[in-house]
Amino acid sequence: MDRLTIERIGGFAGFGGSRLKSRGEVSLSDLAPADRDAVERLLADLPGSAAAQGGAAPRTGAADAFSYRLTVQSPDGPKTVEAPEHLVPSAVRDSVRDTLD
C-alpha cells in the first residue's frame, strides 16, 4: 500500500505509446504530509472524477497537457487513477524519467 507507481502520459509527443515512456515510483511514506494527502485524495476518487474537485479540471480547450496514471497496491488488488498534471504534487511529478523503449 506504500509504493506508488507513476506513469506520465500524453503531451505533444504522446507519451505512453509503444516507444516513448515516462515512469517513476515513490514511497507514500517518503512524501511530505501535504503531498501524501493530495495523493490519497486523488486515489480516493474514482478515475476521471478529478474534474469534480472544485473546478480543478484543465481549462476548456486545453490541449497537449500531461496526465499522470497513479497506481497503488491495495488488499483488493492494484488501484489506478488518472489525474491532470496540475493536481499532482511536484514530488510525484518529478519522480518520472522519460525513456525510449
Binding site: F12, G14, S18, R19, S22, P58, G61, D64, D98, L100
Partner: protein
C-alpha cells in the same frame, strides 16, 4: 466663351485652334483649352494614382492594426505561469524567447494572409507564450489561454521552440477552441489533434514555400534529440505514413483502428493521413484548396464539440463541392483522402 475639356475631342479642338476663319482670340481660346485638357488629364491620372496608393496604404494600416500582439514570458525553469515578461522579445538575447516571438508572429501572418483570420479568436486576441517552463520538460502545450514551451531534456528532445510546426500546432489548438470547440477525447479528440498537425504542417510548408511533393509531412522532426535520432527516429509523427518505423509516436492508419479512450495523439493518425493524401492527390500547395476546405470545416460550422471523424469527412466532401464547383479534381482528391483511411 467657355469650353468643356471633357466633351470636345482633342482633334476637334486642334482643328478649331488652327482654323483661319476664326478670330485670333477664338483660336487662342481653343489652344488654351487643349492645354487645359492636357493638364486636366494629367490631374486625373494623378488622382487615380493617389487613390490607388492611398488605398494600398490604408489596407496595410488596417492590417497592421488588426495584427495581434505577441507577448513572451520566461518561466526560468519553474512551473509558475506566466513567468516574467520578456521586454522587446524580437530582440531578446535568449534564443528561445526570440524564436517563439518570431515564429508566433509568422503563424499569425499565415492565418491572416492564407485564411483571413485575425489571431486565434478571429478578433485579434493577444498571443501569449511562456518559455523555459519546468526543468528538462519534454512538452509544449496550450492551456486554454496561452502557449507553453519546455526546454526538452537534451536527449530525447531538444528545445520544443525549435519546431515551427510545434508552435503552429499549439496555436491551432487555440483556433479550434474558438471555432469547432472539439472535445479532447475519443474521435473529437483525435480530430482536435489532427487539426493542429494539419495546420502545423501547412505552416511549415508555407514558410518553406514547399509544394506537396517537396514537403516531408513530418511532425516534430526539428525537436528530436540525439538519443532519439541515434535509434533511427526522424520524427514524432508522419502524416504520410503514420505507422512508420521512423516515428517515435506511431499511429493507426485506418479509421477502424481508432478506439474509445485512445490518446488523441494516436487517434489523429487516420485524419492526418486523409488530409495528406487529399493534398498530395490534388498537387500544388497544401493550403491553396485542401487547406481552405479543412479551414472552412473547422471554422465555418459553429461549435460542435462532439464532431466525429465520419461527420468531419462528410463535411469536407460537401465543402469541396460547394467551394470548388468548377474543379471536380478537388472533390475527387478529398474523397481519395478519406477513402484511404476507410471513410
Amino acid at each position: 466663351m467657355t469650353y468643356s475639356c471633357c466633351l470636345v475631342p482633342r482633334d476637334v479642338l486642334a482643328r478649331l485652334s488652327s482654323d483661319p476663319s476664326l478670330s485670333a482670340t477664338s483660336r487662342k481660346a481653343f489652344l488654351d483649352t487643349i492645354q487645359i485638357s492636357h493638364e486636366m488629364r494629367d490631374l486625373r491620372v494623378q488622382a487615380t494614382r493617389m487613390t490607388s496608393v492611398a488605398f494600398a496604404h490604408a489596407t496595410a494600416l488596417t492590417a497592421l492594426a488588426l495584427a495581434p500582439s505577441v507577448t513572451i514570458y520566461d518561466c526560468k525553469g519553474t512551473q509558475s505561469l506566466p513567468g516574467t515578461p520578456v521586454p522587446n522579445p524580437g530582440k531578446a538575447a535568449d534564443p528561445a524567447a526570440k524564436r517563439v516571438f518570431g515564429t508566433t508572429s509568422e503563424v499569425a501572418e499565415f492565418f491572416a494572409k492564407v485564411f483571413g483570420r485575425n489571431s486565434i479568436d478571429g478578433e485579434g486576441m493577444t498571443l501569449m507564450s511562456s518559455v523555459h517552463f519546468g526543468q528538462r520538460y519534454n512538452n509544449a502545450m496550450w492551456n486554454g489561454l496561452q502557449m507553453i514551451y519546455g526546454d526538452g531534456d537534451g536527449q530525447i528532445f531538444v528545445d520544443f521552440t525549435a519546431g515551427t510546426d510545434v508552435i503552429a500546432h499549439e496555436l491551432t489548438h487555440g483556433v479550434t477552441q474558438h471555432s469547432l470547440q472539439l472535445d479532447y477525447s475519443d474521435e473529437p479528440g483525435g480530430l482536435n489533434e489532427s487539426m493542429s498537425d494539419c495546420f502545423g504542417s501547412m505552416f511549415r510548408q508555407w514558410k518553406l514555400k514547399q509544394d506537396v511533393t517537396q514537403a516531408d509531412w513530418l511532425i516534430g522532426a526539428d525537436i528530436l534529440g540525439p538519443a532519439a535520432k541515434a535509434k533511427g527516429f526522424t520524427c514524432l509523427r508522419d502524416m504520410a505514413d503514420p505507422a512508420g518505423r521512423h516515428c517515435l509516436s506511431p499511429q493507426p492508419t485506418l479509421y477502424a483502428q481508432v478506439r474509445p479512450g485512445m490518446d488523441p495523439h494516436a487517434a489523429s493518425g487516420p485524419p492526418n493521413l486523409a488530409f495528406c493524401t487529399a493534398a498530395k492527390t490534388l498537387g500544388g500547395k497544401s493550403w491553396d484548396q485542401v487547406g481552405q476546405i479543412w479551414y472552412a470545416a473547422l471554422t465555418g460550422w459553429g461549435a460542435r464539440p462532439k464532431t466525429g471523424m465520419k461527420d468531419f469527412a462528410a463535411r469536407t466532401r460537401q465543402l469541396a463541392q460547394t467551394m470548388y464547383p468548377g474543379a471536380p479534381p478537388v472533390a475527387a482528391a478529398v474523397d481519395a483522402g478519406w477513402r484511404k483511411v476507410g471513410l
